[in-house]
């Protein structure tokens, strides 16, 4: 269970998150909703440990979070190097996390999002949708994490890929994971909605 208590975050002396509190049970999905610039991405990045919050506490299973290792954040970035092929990019990211998968294994996983044919492509040869699917492919390898933090994951995806992502998220939830997803209008799966407005929940 994730428990966020009285979280405050300021950026350049401007309050972005004020007294944010919510809790999410295991196997549950939460949608973060709200207008542009309301702080959805900031909240995800704070939860991922990418931004230092000013006040508040985050608990997982009643234990205070100190190293953010249970979280996996996937934002809008592409994460890949332009001089490496798609499968090489994924391989080296996984290598740096201590996983040693073969290129063949990675190629097979790429097929889940229909990227097998693009496995040897460089970033410049991929469309926006393919780039998005490529970074989403990383989710396959981080399912031992307790919480996925996804920032508008359905953007730029075709309908088949959206369905495949839904299946991937459902599988993660059924294994006891928690998913917190920032989104504007797409709610393909059943989940609690948390609305952010004027820096508050």
């Amino acid at each position: 269970m994730l428990n966020v208590k009285n979280l405050f975050f300021k950026y350049n002396q401007k309050s972005v998150l004020e007294n944010i509190s919510f809790s999410v049970d295991r196997s549950k999905l939460v949608y973060l909703i709200g207008d542009n610039g309301v702080g959805k991405t900031t909240l995800l990045r704070v939860l991922a440990g990418l931004l230092d919050y000013d006040k508040g506490k985050i608990f997982i299973d009643n234990k205070l979070v100190d190293d953010f290792a249970p979280f996996f954040y996937l934002g809008h970035s592409i994460y890949f190097h332009s001089k490496l092929r798609l499968n090489e990019n994924i391989k080296y990211i996984l290598n740096l996390y201590g996983y040693d998968y073969s290129l063949e294994h990675i190629n097979n996983r790429l097929e889940y999002f229909g990227l097998f044919k693009s496995r040897n492509s460089y970033l410049s040869n991929l469309s926006q949708g393919q780039k998005r699917k490529s970074s989403l492919s990383l989710l396959h390898y981080f399912n031992e994490k307790k919480i996925w933090l996804l920032d508008e994951p359905f953007i730029n995806l075709d309908s088949v890929s959206k369905e495949n992502l839904e299946i991937l998220i459902k599988k993660f939830l059924s294994d006891g994971g928690i998913v917190i997803m920032a989104t504007h209008e797409q709610f393909p799966l059943e989940g609690k909605k948390i609305a952010l407005k004027n820096s508050h929940v």
């Binding site: 290792a69 490496l84 080296y92 990211i93 740096l96 201590g98």
Partner: protein, 221 residues
């Protein structure tokens, strides 16, 4: 940990192999500067012999300085640093990047430096000394450049800040390495003692470099 270090090296080697222009830029800059200098200065050979070591070290510093940002820019802008910032093996990645960066930017320069010294009419003993002093001394300069580049890659004013930060740190090192070949007290120092001194400086600067780069990548978002 050791495996991640090797993976980081393999990744950097592959990226460099596929961007040969970037790889050759510091090398060709060093070569052009050190070859053109005696032609343009047009002075007598005695003066050239005296300043040759200084020119080579300065040419190395500028080559290093010009190319080192390449090691950070794309990985930062693509979000790669953000993605790996929570890896428990981040320090191995930083060490791999540091080692590989030195190897790719510096090694070709060290290998070509004895040839360029012939143009200046330097004797063979001094060429051998310079070769070994570069082998041990360039990691100190590279460490300082790498550290500053890692501290500034996410700043808008990095182009101004980096030189301001680098020069106070680098000047004492440059004075040390060039003095050995000059006509002052260092000249009487035994080469082995000089190499030991350089190695000691390398040992001192390396942990600072690794720590600064590790922290910078970890907090790069």
């Amino acid at each position: 940990m050791y495996k991640v270090f090797l993976f980081a090296i393999k990744r950097e080697l592959l990226i460099t192999y596929r961007s040969l222009n970037d790889f050759l830029m510091p090398f060709s800059f060093f070569l052009l500067l050190s070859i053109f200098f005696p032609i343009i200065i047009n002075t007598d050979s005695l003066v050239l012999k005296k300043i040759a070591h200084g020119i080579l070290w300065l040419a190395y510093l500028f080559s290093c300085f010009l190319s080192i940002n390449r090691l950070f820019d794309e990985d930062y802008q693509s979000g790669f640093f953000e993605l790996i910032s929570k890896s428990k093996f981040l320090v191995a990645f930083v060490i791999g990047k540091l080692f590989c960066g030195w190897l790719l930017i510096t090694m070709p320069i060290i290998l070509v430096s004895p040839i360029t010294l012939y143009i200046y009419g330097i004797n063979e003993t001094d060429i051998i000394l310079l070769f070994f002093s570069m082998l041990i001394g360039t990691p100190i300069i590279f460490n300082i450049c790498f550290m500053v580049a890692s501290l500034t890659f996410n700043l808008k004013a990095s182009a101004i800040l980096a030189p301001v930060l680098i020069f106070p740190l680098i000047i004492p090192v440059l004075i040390l390495v060039t003095s050995f070949f000059g006509e002052d007290s260092f000249n009487s120092m035994h080469p082995f003692d000089f190499f030991k001194l350089l190695f000691l400086l390398f040992i001192i600067t390396t942990p600072f470099t690794i720590f600064a780069s590790y922290n910078s990548i970890k907090n790069s978002s």
